[in-house]
Symmetry: C2
Subunit: 350 residues, 2 copies
């Protein structure tokens, strides 16, 4: 509808046929660059603005930076420190570059056909959060890589693949956390990790094992527990951990929510403060600082991960437009450093 | 490009010209409904999928639910409890209805041309967060209303306008908060409010004044302070409030962040715990429960506000498609109730 209005006038001013005006604005068929510019200039001069869709279609651009979110139907996903910080970082860069953020929610139980996001021009670039290491996901990202689309994973890598990844050093983060505990003389250190489909869970396990090994402590499988990063899963783990509290001296949890849930669960089971193990969380969320006792935690620069991932994909988008091949062929795999923040929860009481 | 691929085949199957196929898929020009359906059916049968943009263009649909966000360049906007809860609510409904969420950031210092979002088909419906009562904003929303577009404001109304609004009862929330303080015998109650361009700030002032009035306490202008909802602004207010601490017995703050910032600021100024006033915050964020002492606060159902606003605009979108006029002409102005949650921070120490 928008095109009908004054297509004729644009055609007259540009000295071309109306069909040519349509072809230019729809991005259809081979058009001489000179003709294309003449039409666009005429359209511009006449204040003739086709709809954003028509315009995007012509430019093959949506103006949207996609952010793929995990399927967590019952969780208040934007309220999780992890996502909110990363999104704040991505959002700040989108704002600077005048992109709108398109949040794409994964369907239940599935990987997403990422190629389709580009094929159907829903997004010009995309950032993938919460990817898990399974076959479908791996293949979907391989396709993006082969298609040379501007994409970036955050906080997840795939062994053996040269994918674009912005990550943090979780091996070292966990190593610092557990070394802090062994240095104080704790030897029975339980580990409440996240699901092993996440590379960050596997990295944390490595760091945990490394710190134990250095302290001459054998890894005891019966001290390994798994949650899903929710407070609820930490609360549920309390039951299992309470049974072994005569020997567990400290607990390292893969995020603050699980650590806090676990503490709450232990309290609900009637465990007194004196019998509580030492606690180290992970993420260094606001809650870590506010809870009682304040929670020792590993600081992860999530906001920066979001900023850098957004910068990376927007930069690659520019490179693809200017056909800068060397830029396009450079694969990003960066790890930002993590840092232990010591508070009262992890300190030996003597 | 996408259209060229097999347009010819679609035309043959539908028994129309290729130009007609294009007209149907571009939504251009008058087309008999019967012809339109025949073309769409043929396209469907041939598995001929034009790009999402072309498809949207044809249907005049983007598949996006827009969320207008305030311009807060330095704030980690997704990390604020207020926004993260509302977005979680909106997101859950978008997920259910298979809409993608398009986050639109306001430009610095300006209202947004909302009509343009619809004119350019960036969104099919939109929810407006953080609107302020100024001339430009009011006019932009008036245009949306006149155009009968599916939109909804959250937590903001405009006096004298029949805009679509999902709000909470902030008069009553504040009344409950301040009555809780007066009932304990506090008479000098400072109020750290938000900016007065927000209807929720003006509503809170009404509730504050009403509770004082009922307790026979005159409103004292020198006890009114203003922040901008950030922790920093609460921290800054500590300076002013500390000067009057010999007479201020309690502080009511318009959100938890400011209340917590204010407490931190007072501590940084060397105010001892015994000299601390009683505190009531607002929002009942996670932080209220976790901080020390736990903060009495007013619970606002932000998540539900987000759900209901999303449901409302998606419902109106359906109504506009089925041309259900009575549905389209019904203006929503709903207020959900708020509830005081009492914790240690506000209790009289005797």
């Amino acid at each position: 509808m928008i095109i009908i209005a004054s297509r004729k006038e644009v055609a007259q001013l540009a000295g071309v046929s109306e069909a040519t005006v349509s072809r230019v604005l729809n991005g259809v068929g081979p058009i001489k660059e000179e003709t294309r510019l003449r039409v666009l200039e005429a359209a511009d001069r006449l204040g003739y603005t086709p709809s954003a869709l028509a315009r995007s279609f012509a430019r093959r651009r949506s103006g949207n930076l996609g952010v793929v979110m995990p399927y967590l139907p019952k969780a208040r996903i934007f309220s999780a420190y992890y996502f909110s910080e990363i999104l704040s970082g991505i959002g700040s860069k989108a704002l600077e570059s005048k992109y709108d953020l398109l949040m794409l929610f994964r369907e239940p139980g599935g990987s997403m056909d990422y190629m389709n996001l580009f094929r159907t021009q829903k997004v010009d670039a995309c950032i993938i959060l919460g990817a898990r290491d399974d076959g479908g996901e791996r293949q979907a990202i391989q396709q993006l890589s082969e298609g040379n689309h501007p994409y970036c994973l955050i906080n997840q890598y795939f062994e053996g693949e040269a994918f674009h990844v912005m990550d943090a050093d979780h091996v070292d983060g966990s190593y610092q956390a557990v070394r802090h505990l062994t240095e104080q003389g704790f030897r029975k250190i339980a580990f409440l990790n996240g699901p092993s489909q996440y590379s960050n869970s596997r990295d944390r396990l490595k760091g945990y094992a490394q710190a134990l090994n250095e302290a001459g402590i054998a890894l005891d499988e019966s001290l390994l527990f798994e949650g899903n990063f929710s407070r609820k899963s930490g609360y549920a783990a309390a039951e299992l951990i309470a049974r072994q509290l005569d020997r567990i001296e400290a607990v390292f949890a893969a995020n603050d929510r699980m650590a806090i849930g676990l503490q709450q669960g232990l309290r609900a089971l009637g465990i007194s403060e004196e019998r509580m193990p030492a606690f180290v969380g992970y993420d260094d969320s606001e809650a870590a600082e506010l809870c009682t006792p304040p929670l020792t935690s590993v600081r992860v620069p999530f906001y920066e991960l979001g900023c850098l991932a957004a910068e990376h994909v927007l930069h690659r988008l520019d490179a693809s437009e200017s056909e800068d091949e060397s830029e396009m062929n450079t694969v990003l795999h960066r790890q930002l450093s993590t840092r232990l923040v010591i508070r009262a929860s992890s300190l030996h009481r003597n």
